[in-house]
Symmetry: none
Subunit: 199 residues, 4 copies
Amino acid sequence: MADTQSEQSRVAGTQQVGRPRRDQQGLLDAAAAVFVTSGVEAPVREIAAKAGVGVGTIYRHFPTRPDLVVAVYRHQVEACAEAGPRLLAESATPEAALRAWVALFVEFLVTKHGLASALQGDSAGSDALHTYFVGRLVPVCDSLLEAALQSVDTAPPIDAYNVLKGIGNLCIGAASDTRYDATTLVQLLISGLLTRGTP
Amino acid sequence: MADTQSEQSRVAGTQQVGRPRRDQQGLLDAAAAVFVTSGVEAPVREIAAKAGVGVGTIYRHFPTRPDLVVAVYRHQVEACAEAGPRLLAESATPEAALRAWVALFVEFLVTKHGLASALQGDSAGSDALHTYFVGRLVPVCDSLLEAALQSVDTAPPIDAYNVLKGIGNLCIGAASDTRYDATTLVQLLISGLLTRGTP
Amino acid sequence: MADTQSEQSRVAGTQQVGRPRRDQQGLLDAAAAVFVTSGVEAPVREIAAKAGVGVGTIYRHFPTRPDLVVAVYRHQVEACAEAGPRLLAESATPEAALRAWVALFVEFLVTKHGLASALQGDSAGSDALHTYFVGRLVPVCDSLLEAALQSVDTAPPIDAYNVLKGIGNLCIGAASDTRYDATTLVQLLISGLLTRGTP
Amino acid sequence: MADTQSEQSRVAGTQQVGRPRRDQQGLLDAAAAVFVTSGVEAPVREIAAKAGVGVGTIYRHFPTRPDLVVAVYRHQVEACAEAGPRLLAESATPEAALRAWVALFVEFLVTKHGLASALQGDSAGSDALHTYFVGRLVPVCDSLLEAALQSVDTAPPIDAYNVLKGIGNLCIGAASDTRYDATTLVQLLISGLLTRGTP
DNA sequence: TATGAATGAGCTTTCATTCAT
DNA sequence: GATGAATGAAAGCTCATTCAT
């Protein structure tokens, strides 16, 4: 619905990658801690309290919740994105690279309580977050996917956006349900993806 | 001078409205409509308004939200459950039966906005709902799965509970994102499931 | 199409009201006024309205109703507590001191509509209030009582807690029943207390 | 405020003393049971459920809550009233009679959870109840009081209405506070009452 | 006459967001 | 810039009371 490119620019402009203010870092640490405990939907107050600042400060630096979430996980998302090409170069096969990357992504999503649901576009005011995630990781996933599919000589049954969002969804609730094994499900999805002639 | 309590009573005694007798079906229809529009977490007030009844009426019939959701979707869940054995009997192969059933399930989940997330155990007060879904559909899914796996001579890489919840998760947000194709993802997951030797 | 949650946010964002900074004293004055009118069980809304603030403000400063009641009457309770030793020193006899103090206490309870019932432990959420009252005033009452009893050479037939709570109870409803004379009843109770050899 | 005599007549007319309908008795038994458990302010629904009837039936027979309470305790109140003259005749001294009667009354009030507060005029819609209690028991108390005061040659420091209401108040909350000894307090009040020259 | 479904006012509580200091 | 008090919309839930059946 929103233009992915311009959305991303806006976000990037707001954040100024690579130059986190000294005090901003404290906010991010606190937010990260709270997100793990209470999920990304945690009350702003809780985060402010943890950081030892007023809520106004949070709003000043991160006007919307997604802005904050993006900032908190920027490093990890970045690491995830950068792992793509590297894994492709290092792995024995493209499929192995894809599987390894996907496992990395799953670990990230599952570890961060409630983050997974952010891949959905309609969670509470998640515009910027969704945009950032999609904009940064879809291309990475796409190239891994393409390589893996080429190696098994199969046409892509679905695009990288769907794969990413599907994985995101599969990871929802994984942290709080011990019977639920998101990791295996995701690998099974990849298996299905690489199987020739899926209906 | 007058006591607050008695004041209230007096005021309450003023109310003089007609109360058209309504059956439970009207409530369910209204709730179903609202669920499609606003999801299963829609405010009780909104449902009551749509049904043209007071909130008390909703609470009388369905003390908890899951009670209402279960009632609303009971027929469809039942239909889904009953379709399992029938498809197994009618389909050319067990795999075809599984795929057909899964498609049915997906259609159900995707159509009903927000219902999918009910497969998670930790949504707001979803005990009864979760229990009902899992209790009714896991066995159905299990038998279909077993049959399909036998036909491809593969050990089950994951149990029916995980499959069901995985599918449920894959369907989250499908209704509001036209780029997202839950149906295909689910079929790919099934493909992965039936592929021998998945890591 | 739009999600309920984000709809709400948008609406909330519309509010554009001025927020005059108010001190806690204004709240207390308003609460005191409402308490006199409607008793200590008055709806929070009523108090907020009287104070010209939002309900949230009340809850911020006084999370529970007793917190508020305690704050409102703290000065007077304190005054009552401090009057004990002073009266003992100034009065002609310990009995006179006890009677004077008790009269003071009665006046306080009777004046504040509904406050008396707070001496009971089981009124709606009155933990803090009850604890405060009992903790602050029982010792004061106890020393007055002891002195008075000593002067008439009688063993205490009942402890200060019972005396205090009994007085509190005697004052219930005194403000709204002109035929009911709590003051005299309390003095009669004191007389009985100081009478030797009560069965 | 209301005319005691006519009020009483109205109540008596509603009840038709001595001719409890067969089914009405079931209601009274149920209400009595609920009152003991949850107090006289128990939800109407609870009483109806216990009686196995609809709430409408309760309202038909007893339009207001006090009507019901009066009916429930009519026998006991009657017994209490009748005990007055008898005790006066049987006891060694008028004071003994007064103390015995008061003890009876206290036992009645304390046993019935929450009933005591009904002696206040302003509890939730307790008009009829208050009127009945006062109208029936004040005269009884008055004669006992007069006799006892005559025997000690003292003028009445306070009237029977105040004594009754004072006792009622002293009994509030007695059931739920083991430290609180209403019985002793009431006897102390009587002692004070019979002490010559109370200020 | 009995029933109990329906009503809806009203209460408490939470929390995103604003803005005076 | 930072703060956090203030705001008030919302939502869940309870229960006295009415009245169609």
